[in-house]
């Protein structure tokens, strides 16, 4: 059975490597380095989950969420961010994000969040 595919969208190499460490044993991973690349890859519809950073070059995560919503993107999106803001969390959820995970994160937190959105499908 094919493993679920996760798109990791973050401009920081360290974050991409960290998430790769946590998730690569159980999932196939794809990476995006900025907002525009994230939109282009997500639009292909080949991923089961998107892990999305907020602060990214070219297009930030909130704008990516907005455009994904306009395109009626149906896959779950989890927000990862170092900004801890209630307003941001509210905005992200309003735009369709399934969960909002702060950085630094615990590996169990990431694994649990991904498992729960995949099993909910």
């Amino acid at each position: 059975m094919a493993r679920p595919r996760i798109l990791i969208a973050d401009d920081e190499e360290g974050i991409r490597e960290s998430l790769s460490l946590i998730l690569s044993d159980s999932y196939d991973l794809d990476f995006a380095h900025d907002g525009e690349e994230t939109l282009a890859k997500a639009a292909k519809g080949t991923h089961d989950v998107v892990l999305l950073d907020i602060k990214m070059p070219k297009l930030d995560g909130i704008e990516v969420l907005r455009q994904l919503k306009e395109r009626k993107f149906s896959k779950p999106v989890l927000i990862l961010t170092a900004y801890q803001s209630v307003e941001l969390a509210r905005e992200a959820v309003k735009l369709g994000a399934q969960n909002y995970l702060p950085k630094p994160f615990e590996r169990e937190q990431i694994l649990q969040a991904v498992r729960s959105v995949i099993s909910a499908k």
Partner: protein, 547 residues
């Protein structure tokens, strides 16, 4: 009477336009306002001749001459509003206005249908309207209304940002609204029996806008406007009373002495004048204390206190922003370090993991260190160690330093150094300024490009201009370009330009950035040639869009 009012406003417009033009540095805002007031003067001065002459042919000529300026008032008004509100230019829009203006000007002088004649009114000769003038008046009215709406929109937005900006724009909104009533001068041209009082709203508009442009750094122009109105009325009453007193006393002397005496009149006037100034000052103090909650000195002190409070609040806001930005910049590297440290016990035997671990650890720690270093430089830049340096040499050294990057990105650099270009400055700090600016410019370019660097001396300052034909900076980013942690680069601390700003300020200089998306960015630096500390020198920063 009408001609006197019209002529007075014409001269007032000319005078205020000149004051704005010559006072301080010439900016697009001031130049466009000066052009606008010049056109107003070009409108009212010929009209005053038209209204006062008894020759209908002369009246027709001056009527057409005055209206030739009116034709271009809408475009000048638009230019001024665009620069004052720092809004982007819509070139086709402006081209349309210029085209229409040109057509109307040609029709004015080549075809008698625009102003076919003048008609004798109670106040003097006045132009007769025509179908073409209907179009012209519609354009003027629509432009005035549109500009007022733009001001109202920006005023509402300013309310959330800054009370000072809001109060400035609030009065300017009122001025804009009042200006629209100057269009009432069209009514008598179409047979409506009203006195052309358009010079009154124009006078009010020009006065308020002149004040806003020249003195906008004051806390609030509201109180100054109110005070000046009250003072003007009181001064008029006192002056009138003075003349009446002189006349009455002269009559009394005539009756008492039985003959007219110029000497007696002069002595009377002298005695009254002796008391005039103290009385005026006393009235001014009473008005200040009871109507404006304090004398000028007290208000100045209060203003200073309020300004300090605003500065303190702004500083606290900046600190909060800085803390949030810093927290974000540190949390990313900490996340990576934490995750890799957690996996170390179970993956220690994996050489690929160990290699990645070493790389990531080093990278993330360096990132945090660089960020903290930049933050320290931004927060407390070292006082400049001033020495006499040649700016062109510093720039050449910086260009040599980044030569590899320039070649790799295929960026051509042209320099135009106008000797002498020596300034009293800190060599290392200036080098950092040019390094940051040039690297920003080069790294932003996504195709082969060009950078022009030039120096010139003006008014005791050395001006350095760095212009590129890169992608430019988006309008929404431009006003934040010097904010700490603000960056549009994929990797960057966001502190480079903040540090540049701090260094230039520390040298008593100023830095401006103009940019247009798709065209490029220009950075203008001014440094005092003889050096100036942050406390003693003038300093400033602006970032704005070019048309």
């Amino acid at each position: 009477m009408c001609a006197i009012g019209t002529a007075t406003i014409g001269f007032l417009a000319l005078l205020l336009g000149l004051i704005v033009f010559v006072k301080g540095k010439a900016t697009a805002e001031k130049l466009s306002f000066a052009a606008f007031t010049l056109l107003i003067a070009g409108w009212f001065l010929p009209y005053s001749i038209m209204e006062s002459t008894h020759d209908p042919n002369k009246a027709l000529f001056f009527g057409r001459l005055g209206h030739s300026s009116v034709i271009f008032v809408p475009i000048a008004y638009l230019h001024f509003v665009r620069y004052f509100l720092k809004r982007p230019t819509i070139k086709p829009f402006y081209m349309f206005y210029y085209f229409i203006g040109l057509i109307l000007l040609i029709l004015m002088w080549m075809d008698s249908k625009f102003i076919p004649a003048v008609i004798k009114q109670p106040w003097g000769y006045y132009p007769v309207g025509s179908p073409i003038m209907v179009l012209d008046s519609a354009l003027v009215c629509m432009t005035a209304v549109a500009c007022t709406v733009l001001f109202v929109i920006d005023c509402r937005r300013a309310k959330d940002r800054s009370m000072e900006e809001y109060n400035r724009l609030k009065w300017c909104c009122l001025a804009m609204f009042i200006f629209t009533f100057s269009a009432m001068d069209y009514l008598p041209k179409f047979g409506v029996a009203v006195y052309p009082m358009g010079f009154v709203p124009v006078a009010i508009f020009i006065s308020i806008m002149t004040y806003a442009i020249l003195f906008h750094h004051l806390m609030d122009i509201t109180i100054a406007i109110r005070r000046s109105l009250v003072y003007s009325i009181l001064a008029a009453i006192i002056t009138a009373s003075y003349f009446v007193a002189v006349l009455i006393l002269e009559k009394w002397f005539q009756g008492f002495l039985g003959y007219r005496s110029l000497v007696a009149t002069a002595i009377t006037g002298f005695i009254i004048a002796m008391g005039f100034v103290p009385m005026r000052n006393w009235i001014q103090t009473i008005v200040d204390r009871y109507f404006f909650r304090g004398t000028q000195q007290e208000l100045a002190d209060q203003n200073e206190q309020l300004l300090k409070e605003v500065e303190r609040t702004e500083r606290l806001k900046a600190v909060a922003t800085l803390a949030a930005g810093m927290a974000h910049e540190i949390k990313n590297p900490l996340t990576s370090i934490k995750t890799f440290a957690e996996y170390l016990p179970e993956k220690y035997d994996d050489p690929a993991f160990r290699e990645k671990f070493a790389k990531i650890m080093g990278q993330e720690v360096d990132k945090m260190n660089e960020m903290i270093q930049r933050l320290l430089e931004f927060a407390k830049p070292a006082p400049p160690q001033l020495g006499l340096i040649e700016v062109s040499n510093i720039i050449k050294e910086t260009l040599d330093f980044i030569q590899g990057t320039l070649v790799k990105k295929q960026v051509q650099v042209e320099t135009n150094f106008n000797a002498p270009d020596q300034v009293a400055a800190d060599k290392a700090q200036l080098k950092q300024v040019f390094l940051n600016l040039l690297l920003n410019s080069v790294e932003a370019m996504d195709k082969p490009g060009r950078i022009n660097i030039s120096t010139s001396r003006e008014n005791g300052h050395l001006r350095i201009d760095i212009e590129d034909n890169g992608p430019g900076i988006a309008p929404g980013d431009l006003h934040r370009i010097f904010d700490p942690f603000f960056t549009t680069k994929p990797s960057g601390t966001g502190l480079g330009l903040s540090v540049v700003h701090g260094i230039i300020r520390g040298h008593g200089g100023r830095i401006d950035i103009d940019s247009q998306v798709g065209k490029g960015t220009a950075v203008h630096i001014e440094l005092p040639i003889n050096g100036s500390s942050m406390n003693g020198g003038s300093h400033g920063t602006t970032a704005h869009l070019n048309s």
